[in-house]
């Protein structure tokens, strides 16, 4: 296995260099970029749609949609914002090598906020830096309250955490305190927003925070 590790280390180091190129391009143009990561079905696309709806009057938004096969790009495109697609062809994560050419397809000079939707996977995307400014992890009440304990790397690397589907707290045995204790042990003081993309609850706190980050 040592040979494989060497190759992996080489790939990760090459990815870091490309992530630096991504960051340079974003910073020159004044674009704040987010990497949205979550399990399949936790609500990445729904959160993107809610975020666009809340912020489109104040900010110029663009998006990148990463998926292994069929994609949510039509749902995002229907909002009218510029969006481009990365079909990973089966690969379990986005990396900077995929993101860099995708940036060419977006009007970044006229963009304030770039939303990058990663592949639905709570493990692999945590290993590949994209060069964006904020790693956003979306957990979901439907997944159960033990996720920080079971997938620590994802929660350790987060800059912001959203807990989606809080409308389901009335049906599910879900201990929010247990969830948050697990997060705090990995990532003390992590910014946290409980939301429901279905009902809209909590979305405004998230978008107000994000608006302030873009305008800072």
């Amino acid at each position: 296995m040592s040979k494989r590790l060497t190759v992996e280390e080489h790939i990760l180091s090459a990815n870091e260099a490309l992530a630096g190129q991504v960051r340079d391009r974003l910073d020159v143009l004044g674009v704040l970029a987010l990497n949205l990561m979550a399990s399949p079905g936790a609500g990445k696309t729904s959160l993107i749609l809610r975020t666009i709806a809340d912020l489109r009057d104040d900010l110029r938004i663009a998006a990148v949609d990463g998926d292994v096969a069929m994609v949510d790009v039509e749902k995002i495109a229907a909002t009218g914002i510029p969006v481009t697609l990365i079909n990973t062809g089966g690969s379990c994560h986005l990396d900077a090598n995929m993101l860099l050419p995708a940036l060419d397809e977006l009007p970044l000079a006229e963009t304030d906020l770039l939303l990058v939707e990663n592949v639905g996977n709570l493990i692999c995307p945590a290993n590949f830096a994209l060069g964006v400014h904020l790693n956003v992890v979306i957990a979901s009440v439907a997944e159960g309250d033990d996720k920080p304990y079971k997938y620590p790397a994802m929660f350790r690397g987060a800059d912001v955490l959203l807990l989606n589907k809080i409308d389901m707290l009335q049906y599910e045995e879900y201990d929010v305190d247990y969830f948050r204790r697990g997060v705090e042990a990995l990532n003390p003081g992590l910014t946290f927003f409980p939301v429901s993309c279905k009902t809209g609850e909590g979305i405004e706190a998230w978008t107000a925070w994000l608006r302030a980050r873009v305008q800072a």
Copy 2:
């Protein structure tokens, strides 16, 4: 990337050979083995606990629990069946190289049914054969009805499919027909069980089917 692909192909081919060794050991001892795969929080452990409860009077059951960090092994061990743990240390899937030594820790000569819980991931485990007899995919109503369209490899490689959390159909906008059409396009005639590990609905149909497979 061509060098990386070569290494990956080498790893997958070595894994196939080890999967053959796993299969030989299981078949010599007359053990039917299942590889349970699903997204985080879809209900792998819950299904294992329900399956043990239903079948333990008729069959001798053992389990392998694979996880990236904190594990569900205590919940399974609490049932009293033999269970062993594979902590992948961050790796996103089980492979035959991990499973082979784990078999040594179980009383396989006194086992009829072996339940292998894979890592919570709807992408990577589909690429690594374990040498077991049945690939079992567990989808969940909470994830949304588009999962076959978005994660085709997992559904294409399934031998049995369960849709868990059907008790949530009353709260969620979930089109079971759309879900099943997506599955049928990838894997026509796939054996399918809608279940709720929470209420027990549908579990008996699954365990009756599984009992018949073991006793065949």
